[in-house]
């Protein structure tokens, strides 16, 4: 996607004005934030104070300070050092656009939440005019040819520090965003995040960070887990956000399992939720619930493994006959299988067969997990911060996530992973080279099912009840949507996709009625403009752009670089 630009002649004519206009804009935005934006103190937190910036005004300051840095890179003290690497002009255009969107959002929020534009105070208008100036100024600052920031070599400690700073930013950003209670504030924080990310992309910083991330994969993974680990401590014992976080984790772990099937082996599975359900049913019927149907209560570790194995067996049973068909046929058959699973759970109620599932009533009252002496329902106080029930499950799920990611990456980088790529690329040629095509497809099915089964056993205890209507087709569709949105074959992408799909409906209740419509629309747009997903897997990127020679050359030079 490209930002539309003004005609060259116009830009040339006004080029000299861009810089001072932009600088004036930054100054106005900052001045505005020290004044009141809103007459009504109850909107967007409290923006009605004079003398110091409050609440969301801080975000406007951060955005305009970023713009200031870029302006000074175009012309000023930073030009000599950063000028030749950072694409400041392009970054400014992105930043100007997003700053404007941010201010428009603020004004809209104030106007809609109270009774019209009257409630916008002068400070708000001053900042808005500042944003317009930054936007206008950035449009006429001429673009330049730059060196590729991805090739910049910086000292190792700097790279590691960059990873740490970005990860800390993600942690604080997530905590800050989740702490916004009203929808408008949340949206504005998202706009802020969008602006920062867009500016990073446009200046080339994101590309550089991508290189650093591949070079320092271990540091990145460790930092990501550290951030995830510390997240509950930022929530001060609030259960609301932690419950969202646990559901995101379950969803994401399942989606990564599905990504082995879809992203790595290239098989379209529309009934994947059944494997999560199988794990959940195993755990709930073996639990100490009064409604549990099997009077055998092994330790939880055994249940987890059993859940995984039952799921994997189901995967093998469904896979053996169906993996001989491919493409659309496989999708339809798996869709059918998902429904068969749900109806079986619905009907195994004692009337139509053995009573395993209590039919439509499901198995409620599943007790909290207790491993050793540790009860997952209890609250714990660590370093003065209360960690509630959901935090306990969150940490357990984090362990599961680590395992799922380990399985995903190691399989992806192994002989088996190469076999999967070969099958995706050219099945006949793979077969002619001695790759066990059917076996590898079946393996992907079984491993994916196994991981979903593991997640299911934890989900049963976390939900406290298991019933057939939790495992409807829509859930399978959402899992697949998380992968398509995030990126086939990547972990970061699926994490992002899962977070978006689970978090947004929770935070933006007002759009819940249009949820499906919006997701459908998003997917259509993704398919049109970015079929490889938000975080693209290199090979998938190439597969989706068979004709793009430039892209292939670029990816290749990266590969050669990495091999050195």
């Amino acid at each position: 996607m490209s930002i539309p630009t003004l005609p060259d002649a116009f830009v040339e004519k006004h080029a000299a004005k861009g810089w001072p206009v932009g600088l004036a804009g930054v100054a106005l935005v900052i001045i505005g934030t020290f004044m009141s934006w809103s007459f009504d103190p109850n909107i967007l937190g409290d923006l009605s104070v004079y003398g110091y910036p409050g609440g969301l005004q801080i975000l406007a300051i951060i955005l305009s300070l970023l713009a200031l840095v870029l302006l000074l890179t175009v012309k000023g003290p930073l030009a000599s050092r950063l000028g030749q690497w950072l694409d400041a002009a392009l970054g400014l255009r992105a930043l100007g656009l997003w700053l404007l969107i941010y201010m428009v959002g603020v004004i809209l929020a104030i106007a809609t939440d109270s009774s019209g534009l009257v409630n916008v105070d002068p400070g708000g208008w001053i900042s808005f005019v500042g944003a317009v100036l930054v936007f206008a100024g950035s449009q006429v600052i001429p673009l330049r040819e730059l060196r590729d920031l991805g090739r910049a070599r910086l000292p190792g400690w700097f790279e590691i520090a960059a990873v740490a700073v970005v990860m800390a930013g993600v942690l604080f950003g997530a905590a800050y965003a989740l702490a916004r209670e009203d929808a408008w504030s949340f949206v504005l924080v998202l706009v802020f995040a969008g602006g920062t990310v867009a500016a990073m992309f446009r200046t080339g910083t994101m590309g550089w960070f991508g290189h650093v991330a591949t070079r320092r994969r271990k540091v990145l993974t460790l930092a990501a887990f550290a951030v995830a680990f510390f997240f509950p401590f930022t929530q001060q014992g609030s259960d609301a956000n932690m419950s969202i976080a646990t559901s995101v984790l379950i969803f994401a772990a399942t989606a990564i399992g599905l990504n082995i099937v879809v992203g790595l082996a290239g098989l379209l599975d529309l009934g994947y939720i059944a494997f999560l359900g199988a794990g959940a049913y195993v755990a709930s019927s073996l639990s100490r619930s009064a409604f549990a149907t099997i009077d055998w209560h092994p330790p939880f570790l055994v249940i987890v493994l059993l859940g995984g194995c039952v799921s994997a067996t189901l995967g093998l049973i469904i896979g053996t006959p169906t993996l001989r068909v491919s493409g659309d046929y496989l999708a339809i058959v798996t869709l059918g299988f998902g429904e068969i699973f749900r109806f079986s759970m619905f009907n195994l109620d004692g009337n139509n067969g053995p009573n395993l599932t209590n039919g439509p009533n499901g198995i409620p009252g599943i007790p909290e997990l207790a491993v050793g002496g540790f009860n997952f329902g209890d609250e714990h106080v660590v370093a003065g911060i209360t960690l509630g029930r959901f935090s306990n499950y969150y940490f357990l799920l984090l362990l599961l996530m680590a395992f799922v990611i380990l399985v995903f990456t190691r399989l992806n980088n192994s002989r088996i992973g190469r076999g999967w790529v070969a099958i995706r690329e050219d099945e006949k040629a793979a077969e002619a080279m001695g790759v066990n095509v059917f076996g590898l497809k079946l393996l992907a099915f079984a491993v994916g099912a196994f991981l979903a089964g593991l997640a299911g056993t934890i989900k049963a205890h976390q939900d406290g009840a298991t019933s057939p209507d939790q495992y409807i087709f829509l859930e399978s569709a959402f899992l697949l949507a998380a992968i398509v949105l995030g990126g086939m074959g990547t972990i970061a992408g699926v994490l992002l996709g899962a977070t978006i799909l689970k978090l947004l409906p929770e935070k933006l209740r007002f759009f819940s009625e249009y949820r499906l419509l919006l997701f459908g629309l998003t997917l259509v747009l993704m398919m049109r403009f970015r079929p490889e997903g938000l975080v693209a897997n290199k090979r998938r990127l190439l597969e989706f752009h068979e004709e793009d020679e430039k892209l292939a050359t670029a990816v290749e030079s990266e590969l050669v670089e990495e091999a050195k």
Binding site: S414, I416, K428, E431, A432, M433, L542, E556, V560
Partner: protein, 287 residues
């Protein structure tokens, strides 16, 4: 450098043939693409397979390598009947390349060759996940072997290049390296010089000699007569799915029927053109 550890046996060794196809027949509906073809290849031999377009050469290849299940006939390798399954064929020690190059386009050259090692390596899911010393050793060996084969075909410096970005001639050589990675005793090359210039063609025949010298047998389909007669120990000419002539290059070269098959007799040219290109004849194994 050697491709296999076996000591190469002299060309045209006596005794049992390495590959022996007897009475191979392939029928698509009413079309006889290959009719009762016999073929034997000895260790260390280069055998050429020629014939006009649509003669059934590629179909015959597909029958040999298990992509097609022959309607009748049997293929024996090392004296053992081969199941018509590509994987069984590769495991027995017979590898092939394709007429229209079928590389894994979005993989690097090295990765392409590493896929070829698949059937000679054994780590499965659990070993890969556990990442133990045995697994790491096997991965390192796979990588080293793949690099060695790239060096062998002259692509050692392109190991990190994407297959789809490589020049045409290099892609052909990469396909040969990938086939060699399966540790074959016999390699089947389907038009290895199609679309190449004279220099590349000469390099290709040098490479084929080099492969033969390292102890492998080679069966090669080709249209370039000079290439085939300079290369092969024996040549088999297929016309309309049937063996027309089999013999040394000199015998085949001077056979009037071969010349007739290629150039035509004049009167029946138009009819021949119609019959010479039956559907599915030179099609790659897409069924």
């Amino acid at each position: 450098m050697t491709v296999t550890d076996e000591v190469r046996s002299p060309a045209r060794a006596s005794g049992q043939p390495l590959l022996e196809a007897s009475g191979v027949t392939m029928q698509f509906g009413g079309l006889l693409a290959v009719n009762d073809v016999n073929l034997s290849v000895h260790e260390g031999e280069i055998l050429g397979l020629i014939g006009p377009n649509g003669a059934g050469k590629t179909t015959f290849f597909n029958c040999l390598t298990g992509l097609y299940k022959p309607t009748r006939g049997q293929v024996r390798f090392n004296g053992v009947p081969l199941a018509p399954k590509p994987r069984a064929v590769v495991e027995a020690g017979m590898a092939r390349t394709f007429q229209n190059i079928r590389l894994f386009a979005n993989m690097t050259a090295l990765e392409n060759v590493m896929v070829g090692r698949y059937c000679r390596t054994s780590s499965m899911a659990l070993t890969s996940i556990l990442h133990g010393p045995k697994y790491r050793k096997e991965e390192a060996a796979t990588r080293a072997r793949a690099q060695e084969l790239l060096d062998f075909v002259g692509l050692g410096r392109s190991s990190e290049h994407l297959a789809r970005n490589m020049p045409y001639g290099d892609q052909r050589r990469l396909e040969i390296a990938r086939a060699l990675a399966t540790d074959p005793k016999l390699i089947l090359l389907d038009e290895p010089t199609a679309g190449m210039n004279p220099l590349e063609t000469r390099q290709a025949s040098d490479l084929i000699f080099k492969i033969r010298d390292s102890g492998l047998s080679v069966v090669v389909i080709e249209h370039d007569m000079r290439f085939i007669f300079g290369l092969c120990d024996r040549v088999l000419c297929l016309v309309r799915g049937e063996t027309l002539v089999e013999g040394t290059p000199i015998e085949v070269q001077s056979d009037s029927r071969v010349i007739e098959a290629y150039i035509g007799t004049g009167e029946s040219d138009d009819e021949d053109a119609g019959q010479d290109t039956p559907a599915g004849g030179d099609e790659e194994g897409k069924s």
